[in-house]
Structures are given as C-alpha cells and as structure tokens.
C-alpha cells in the first residue's frame, strides 16, 4: 500500500511538473498542449501550492480561539494516548496558537484572523512554494472550557488536485493537561474570564476525546458554565480547496 501510494504521488508530481512547464512557454497554441516537450527545458519556475480553508464553528456557545492552520510533511500536532506537546497545551488551555505555528514540523503556518464565534465561518488562505505538502493540520480551542480543542491532525492532502476540495467534520479533544473543573478562575473564555495557560499538568496527561462540558445546569455545582456551553460532536466543519 505504501509503495503504491508513493507511485501515485510521483506520477502526480510528474504531471504537475509537465503542466507547469507548458504554462511557462506562454506563446504555445493550446491545441498543441498534448505531449510537446519544450526544447531546451524551461528554467525552473517556483511552484506555488495554495489552499483556501473554510471553517465553520458548529457549536452553540463555544467561541473558537484563532485557528492554527499548518502544512507539513511529517509529524502530528497530537496523538490519542500520548502526552500533549507544550505548544498544544498552551493552545488548548489559553487559545494561544503562536507556539503551535512555530513547531519545527511546520512548513507553512497561518493563524486565523481572530476569535471565531459560534455560527460564524472564516476563510483562511495558506500556501507553500516548491514543496507539495503531504499533510494538513488545524487546531483551535473551545474557549469556554478548561482544555478542549478541536481540529484535525496530519490529514493527507497529497492527492488533492487543483480545484478539488476535501470536507470534514471534526470532533473535540481534551489535552489532558488541566482538570475539567469548569471553575470560573480556570475558564479563559467570556463565560469565565479566568486563567488561560498554566504549565502545571494536573489531569491524566494524555490526549483523548473530550467528554463534553457538564455545566452547573447539569450537575456540576462548582461550574461557571451553563447549559448553553455544552457541545456535541462535531464542533467544526472544514473545507480545504486547493486553488493553485
């Protein structure tokens, strides 16, 4: 399976290479677009891989922190059952995406424009030159929680052709780095106005699916959250379109 995938990628890369060269020799008659190779070979033109990413916040009352949108060839932003990285912990507890975007695996990273409110959508443009990216990752915090985040990690986009789209719905994860106390002092979003990031890890210290918000209306007396802040999966709709 791996070898056949590689083969496909090579053929796609080859196909893209040829079409770029053809576009490069501007005067050529379109009817002759078939298999005519230019002679001598055109100088290498930087190849731009550009994507638009449309994100919709599907929750009732969970604003999303500024999106971290990432193109990469290796690694993951998180793994179920493994400890959250420090950068992910920071994003999941405070909504600060700077450290995730600065991760060494990131070949191209883009931040969303700001908080993405419930029911709202946002378009993020991201591109990279001369390196067809293998993977797409996206992460954002549900800010009226202790350490919930949603998104996708290492989704294979290497077979995405120009003008093609991939759509997905994302589930929510718990970074496992902060207890889901739902106390006012620990919720950074508007429902709490409390502390965001704290380097202490007082929870299970592995990433898993989030169990959801409980709220004071549903049995957690100490919670600052209300029934409004509960959520179910999925929490985001993402559509990735390759435009170049």
């Amino acid at each position: 399976m791996i070898s056949s995938n590689k083969f496909k990628n090579t053929s796609i890369a080859l196909a893209i290479g040829i079409s770029t060269i053809l576009m490069g020799c501007g005067g050529s008659d379109k009817k002759e677009d078939t298999m005519v190779m230019p002679d001598p070979p055109a100088p290498a033109v930087p190849v731009n891989y550009a994507y638009t990413v449309k994100v919709v916040n599907l929750t009732t009352a969970q604003p999303m922190s500024p999106l971290a949108v990432v193109l990469h060839d290796e690694g993951e932003l998180w793994n179920i059952g493994e400890m959250a990285s420090d950068s992910l912990e920071k994003l999941a507890e405070s909504g600060d995406n700077a450290d995730v975007l600065a991760e060494s695996i990131v070949l191209s990273g883009k931040s969303g424009a700001g908080i993405l409110m419930p029911g709202m959508s946002e378009m993020v443009e991201i591109n990279i030159e001369d390196n067809m990216p293998m993977y797409f990752s996206l992460a954002t915090m549900l800010v009226n929680t202790n350490d919930a985040f949603t998104g996708t990690t290492a989704m294979d986009i290497s077979n995405l052709a120009v003008d093609e789209s991939i759509s997905l719905l994302t589930s929510s994860y718990d970074s496992g780095t902060e207890k889901n106390s739902e106390l006012m002092a620990t919720i950074p979003g508007p429902a709490g106005g409390g502390e965001g990031y704290n380097d202490m890890r007082d929870d299970v210290d592995y990433v898993a699916m989030h169990p959801g918000v409980i709220s004071k209306d549903d049995g957690l007396t100490q919670s600052v959250l209300t029934q409004d802040h509960r959520f179910d999966n999925p929490t985001l709709s993402i559509t990735i379109t390759r435009v170049e």
């Binding site: 399976m1 179920i80 059952g81 589930s171 929510s172 718990d174 496992g176 207890k179 889901n180 106390s181 299970v204 592995y206 990433v207 898993a208 699916m209 989030h210 169990p211 959801g212 409980i214 549903d218 049995g219 957690l220 007396t221 100490q222 179910d232 999966n233």
Partner: protein
C-alpha cells in the same frame, strides 16, 4: 491482450461471487479519556450473522456482554456460524486512550467485521462495530465507533458489582474512581431495544447524590473508539 482480458474477467467474476480468505490487521483504540473497555470480541462472519439489530431486542448473548463484559456467549454464537473470532486481544481491560492490535485471518465468505466490548462504568453500555463490509482491496481503512445501550437494564448508575444479566447495577469502576451511596438515577429503562447510548449522567458527589459515576470523569461523546483495519 485477449488473454489478459479474459483473466481480468475471470478475476472480476470470482470477486463478485465470493471474496476469498483475507488477512487483516485490526487496531482498536479507546478514544475516551475516562472509560474502560472489557475484553473485546472481534469477528469476521457472513452476511446472515450479526451481533444485534438496532431498534430490536438484544439477544441474551449481547446482554451478557453489555451488562457484565462476558463475551463467551457471543463467541459461541459466532463459532456456530463458522465465523472467525479473536477474543480478548488486549488481554484484559483496554484503558482510556489505549490501543490494541491483533491479526485476523478470515475464511471464505466471512466478509463482514463485527467488534464489541462493554464500557465501564455503565449499566449496559457497549461500543460496537456491527457487520462492516470488509473491503476486498488491500489498504488501510479507518472506522469510528459509537456507544450503544443494550436496552436490557435501567441506567441506575449504582456501582454494586452487579454484572450478571438481569442484576441491576454496574460491576465496577476499574480505575477505582467511582463513588458510593448514590440513590439511583432511574429504575426504569424507557427504550428496551438496542439504541444509541445517551451517555452517563453522573454527579459531583462521590459519597452520595443520585449516581456513583463521576460526571467529570465518566462521561463521553461519540465517537468512543476508532478501528483501523489493514487489509493485507
């Protein structure tokens, strides 16, 4: 060229009649942060066999698995149907966010994959894959699983060791993080058919309240498991 075409036609004809034996590598991941899975049963079987039907009554075999984690009845039922069966690949409980991987060789005609395991602590909650058509093409496939309620026991959420079919209560909270003294969330089961589990309610009083389940630890949202199948 003609020979090639007829070979291809033969292959197509064969595959449409019956997929021959397959070699599968199956990984089950518990995606929850606070729930344990009892010993898992994994099986490849024919189209006439299933673990349950949504919206119908659970069989006694499914009930035993969902209320007490006992997969022996399901295993016997599957063996009698000439299914290929792997029991207990995790060699015990599969903890939160843990994975287990096993190989499964399927016999001719066993083209459907089913998986089941009880969620602890619940009364009769289970995670399952029910008759997923195994792809004939080699590759890696991923399926997300939801949690179901067998509909055979009231979700009182009282941890009292009750694991036998028909005995009220939850067998155990394996991480010893359950409570005691709960008065019981409910004593009736409104839907007595197999249905999507509504989730644990729990409470924040470990020594009393209505539930012995901790609402900050033992709740979940679907999906609760992922299954990765590598068709060799």
């Amino acid at each position: 060229m003609k020979i090639n075409k007829s070979i291809l036609a033969l292959m197509l004809a064969t595959s449409s009649v019956a997929v021959s034996a397959q070699k599968l590598e199956i990984t089950v991941t518990n995606l929850t942060q606070g729930m344990h899975y009892t010993p898992i049963i994994i099986s490849a079987h024919d189209a006439d066999t299933s673990l349950y039907q949504l919206g119908e009554m659970a069989s006694p075999e499914l009930q035993a698995m969902a209320e007490g984690g006992d997969i022996s009845g399901l295993s016997t039922m599957l063996m009698n149907a000439n299914a290929d069966v792997v029991e207990n690949p995790a060699a015990g409980l599969l903890g939160p966010a843990m994975s287990t991987t096993t190989m499964l060789d399927t016999a001719d005609g066993n083209m459907y994959l089913s998986i089941a395991s009880m969620l602890l602590p619940t009364n009769d909650g289970f995670v399952a894959l029910n008759g997923w058509k195994i792809p004939s093409e080699a590759g890696t496939y991923k399926v997300m699983l939801n949690a179901y309620d067998a509909g055979t026991e009231a979700n009182d959420e009282i941890i009292n060791g009750g694991g036998a079919s028909g005995t009220p209560g939850i067998p155990v909270a394996p991480a010893s993080n359950g409570g005691t003294g709960g008065t019981g969330v409910t004593s009736t089961e409104a839907n007595t058919y197999v249905h999507v589990h509504r989730g644990n309610l729990g409470d924040d009083d470990p020594m009393g309240g209505i539930s012995d389940v901790d609402n900050t630890v033992h709740r979940w949202l679907n999906p609760v498991a992922s299954v990765t199948v590598v068709v060799k």
